[in-house]
């Protein structure tokens, strides 16, 4: 007898429908899986057999052939266990053939017959909904995440035994917990108010957050670059529901999710030894890289000078386009990669703070040049991070502003931008291209334009000029001004990046 069961395979951060066809007929007892399964999928045969027998079900001593269609797609992972088991059950007549109707299944089996969670439950659920399924059977641990896909009935099943009862119509699982009830237990996000001093970094973070600008933090080791950067997600506008869904889906696909809807934007800080594939994603079974994990959030590269050139090169195009295209073998994969970049480095090769530095100007120039190149082109502002003076560290009264207050200003500034950029490709000032910059960042008086010119006196490339304009636009937006005034341009110039290439020209 033939059975056909729908399940979903994870490809990158999306899922693809896979139909598991199981044929059981007379012959020498055998269990064959075809349709480009990898070693992990072939092992499913042993798990399925043991799980069925340990759940008190019959494992037919007949010739069993399972096909994973489309046969051209490479299958990996353990998520096919459940579909194979249900297929065998239906094909051997142990559950009614009319079941499961309009239902997809996804889950790994233990030898004892318990259902185990798989990666990418939300991606799977969204795929099932898009493909027109009404119900999705998942492990209990995956239920909450899968239930984030509205309009799909998620059936949380603890074991194969329960599933058989469900299919025979003798048991109904409890509906998964509702979203609003799933917030407890999460630790509060780090707050800007905890950061002593760092006025410059805080202001730069606020501007960066308000305009979606990439940021470079410069300071000696231990000055608090990482600690300060970690506060950035807390002042970015909270993710919209769709964005939160995207973040959760990616987290789940990478196996990092806690099952809840993401309420904060991600903050990823990969180590500088991370390979290019680790940053942008890849592998023979392509997995999302750090830039995808930071999608809609912040990618923090500490010690950016220590990253390999290849790794930084690889980041360039995704940062520009907001998407990573990976081609492996016969197929290509697009992974979302719209993240803000925050980079950090030492002020000079000796890494001492101002005052104690023993580097001469050439050393510094050489160090800066090592950083330079295509990635720094994407960075709009640079800020200074120094260890705060001891007096400030021990001071009792903290007058620092809380993240929430800064976030309010950021949200207001973003709204102004959204209103101005309506109809444009860019969503915030940091994403404006040259033409949009010239249209939207109009300098008030002619004198302001000259101000910009005379500081640079010809050293600024066209691109550098645009960057200063974009920054000035954001600074004006933060102050709720439609007109860019001289002070905005001056402040923007203060935060600009002087490319060492420009300096050497």
């Amino acid at each position: 007898m033939l059975a056909s069961i729908a399940t979903f395979a994870l490809t990158g951060v999306d899922s693809r429908e896979v139909t598991v066809e199981v044929d059981v007929r007379r012959g020498l007892p055998a269990f064959t899986v075809v349709g480009l399964p990898d070693a992990g999928v072939r092992e499913a045969r042993e798990r399925v057999r043991a799980a069925m027998l340990n759940s008190g079900l019959d494992f037919p001593l007949q010739r069993i052939t399972a096909n994973l269609a489309p046969a051209s797609l490479r299958k990996a992972g353990t998520g096919f266990d459940l579909a194979l088991a249900v297929g065998v059950l239906v094909a051997s007549g142990q559950v009614p053939a009319s079941q499961p109707d309009r239902t997809a299944v996804s889950g790994e089996l233990s030898l004892g017959g318990a259902l185990r969670p798989v990666r990418g439950a939300l991606a799977c659920a969204l795929g099932a909904r898009a493909a027109g399924y009404e119900r999705l059977v998942v492990a209990v641990e995956n239920a909450e995440e899968a239930a984030l896909a509205d309009g799909l009935q998620v059936l949380a099943v603890p074991s194969l035994t329960r599933l058989v009862e469900l299919l025979r119509g003798r048991w109904r699982p409890d509906p998964p917990p509702r979203r609003s009830e799933t917030r407890a237990g999460s630790s509060p996000a780090p707050d800007l108010a905890d950061v002593r001093g760092q006025q410059d970094a805080k202001r730069a973070l606020e501007i960066a957050a308000a305009g979606g600008h990439n940021l470079l933090m410069v300071g000696p080791p231990g000055a608090g670059k990482t600690m300060t950067a970690r506060r950035l997600p807390g002042i970015l506008p909270p993710p919209s529901f769709d964005e939160a869904l995207e973040i959760t889906r990616i987290r789940g696909a990478a196996g990092l999710g806690d099952g809840c809807l993401a309420l904060e934007r991600p903050f990823r800080a990969p180590h500088h030894t991370t390979s290019p594939q680790g940053l942008v994603g890849g592998g023979s079974v392509p997995r999302p890289g750090e830039i995808t994990l930071a999608h809609r959030g912040v990618l923090f590269l500490d010690e950016i000078a220590e990253f390999s050139r290849a790794a930084l090169e690889a980041l360039r195009q995704p940062l520009e386009d907001g998407v990573v295209e990976i081609t492996r073998g016969q197929r290509s994969l697009a992974l979302p990669a719209r993240a803000m970049l925050v980079a950090a480095c030492n002020p000079c090769p000796c890494a001492h703070g101002a005052g104690d530095c023993r580097c001469n100007e050439l050393d510094r120039l050489r160090y800066a040049r090592r950083l330079s190149g295509p990635l720094l082109d994407r960075i709009d502002l640079i800020c200074d991070v120094q260890p705060p003076p001891a007096a400030e560290l021990v001071a009792r009264t903290v007058t620092s502003e809380r993240s929430a207050a800064v976030r309010d200003r950021v949200v207001a500034a973003r709204e102004r931008q959204a209103w101005r950029l309506a109809g444009d490709e860019a969503l915030c000032n940091g994403h404006m291209d040259g033409r949009a910059t010239r249209r939207h960042a109009v300098l008030g008086a002619r004198g302001t334009e000259r101000l910009l010119g005379s500081v640079e006196a010809g050293t600024l490339t066209g691109r550098g000029h645009d960057r200063v304009l974009r920054l000035a636009r954001t600074i004006a937006d933060l102050a709720a001004r439609e007109r860019i005034v001289a002070g905005d341009v001056e402040e923007a110039l203060g935060y600009r990046l002087v490319s060492p290439v420009e300096m050497a020209a």
Partner: protein
């Protein structure tokens, strides 16, 4: 209307037409160019004609002054011949003074005839020290109202123009190609900015590309226009030293900025100093040299230059102090007692006035030569 008579214009275009042939003839550029350029029209044609090629073709047979004038007007180029009253008289001291100067840019033509211009030149690969001094001198001269002549080359020349433009000064760039050709291309924006308020000058007609020989030829014009030629940094031998040779021949002043004795790009300038060039350590020295230390004119110019770099605003002063003490931005804010926003804006103003420089990684340093 352009200030060039037909015959001078014809001569200017002839040099342009023969430029490639002159280049083919001269293996090594140098004084021989001067000799060539002082020849009469027919002699010049004869001198550069390739005799083995048989009958030389006659250049400029179809020369039409009206058409070329219209063409120049299209390209925004003006011409000034030696018969025009505005032609810089000091240039006529050159034995081979160009018959016509092609000028681009919105500056006043009288700028060229100014009797106390300074030529500031130097190497294309300067040290950071050289850049800083060059920009400071350009700025100081601009503040004192002295026209600054340079060559728009990479390195020192570019810094000189930058300093001069930053202080809204009178910038004159003398090119080794047509005045409408931004060369080198890296300095394209700088070229545009010089043209906005100053002048770009060349003896080659519009559209001409530069040749090897045209660089020393351009140097003689720089030396000819300026009362003093100052070399900021130069190796030995170098094009900048050729400029000073021209200046010496014309009996004009030569100055040099002292450099580290171990630095290759200071060899030329230190040798100049040994040979008796004026020692220039800043704008005040140069203005002394230009106007004399006792003259009223000199006193006024020095005062102007000093006033341009003086800071009245107490906040700006405290910002500068804090930069000198190499505090971080937070330290700078604390010292000046202003919020970070105003500190950043204030530092940009100090950068604009040349008091501080930005490191590539964002740090601020006080400049060694404020004037």
């Amino acid at each position: 209307m352009t200030g060039a008579c037909d015959s001078c214009l014809r001569r200017g275009y002839l040099v342009g037409q023969l430029a490639a042939r002159i280049a083919a003839m001269l293996d090594r550029p140098g004084k021989r160019v001067g000799a060539l350029l002082s020849l009469s029209e027919d002699e010049l044609i004869e001198a550069v004609s390739d005799r083995s090629a048989g009958v030389p073709d006659i250049p400029l047979r179809g020369f039409d002054a009206c058409r070329e004038r219209a063409e120049m007007a299209d390209r925004g180029v003006r011409a000034l011949c030696r018969h025009d009253g505005r032609y810089p008289p000091q240039l006529l001291q050159l034995q081979d003074a160009p018959a016509v100067l092609f000028v681009s840019g919105h500056g006043d033509l009288d700028l060229l005839a100014h009797d106390s211009s300074v030529a500031l030149v130097g190497t294309r690969r300067p040290s950071p020290y050289g850049r800083e001094v060059a920009q400071g001198l350009g700025r100081g001269m601009a503040a004192a109202g002295v026209p600054v002549v340079s060559g728009l080359a990479l390195g020192i020349d570019a810094e000189v123009h930058r300093g001069c433009l930053a202080a809204d000064g009178l910038a004159v760039a003398v090119l080794a190609c047509g005045p409408d050709v931004p060369y080198p291309r890296t300095n394209r924006r700088l070229y545009d900015r010089v043209r906005e308020r100053g002048l770009v000058v060349s003896e080659l007609p519009p559209g001409q590309r530069p040749y090897r020989w045209s660089f020393p030829a351009r140097n003689r014009i720089m030396a000819g226009l300026a009362r003093i030629t100052v070399v900021v940094e130069a190796a030995d031998p170098s094009g900048s030293l050729i400029t000073t040779q021209f200046a010496t021949q014309l009996g004009r002043g030569v100055g040099a900025v002292p450099g580290q004795v171990t630095s290759r790009v200071a060899a030329g300038t230190n040798n100049l100093l040994k040979d008796g060039a004026a020692l220039v350590t800043g704008s005040q020295d140069l203005l002394d040299e230009l106007f004399g230390s006792e003259s009223d004119e000199g006193r006024a110019a020095r005062a102007q230059a000093a006033a341009a770099v003086a800071i009245d605003d107490p906040v700006q002063l405290r910002l500068l102090e804090a930069v000198e003490a190499s505090l971080g931005i937070d330290g700078i804010c604390a010292h000046a007692g202003v919020p970070v926003r105003e500190a950043r804006a204030g530092l940009s103003r100090l950068e604009r006035s040349g008091h501080v420089r930005r490191d590539p990684l964002g740090g601020y340093r006080r400049t060694a030569v404020p004037c």
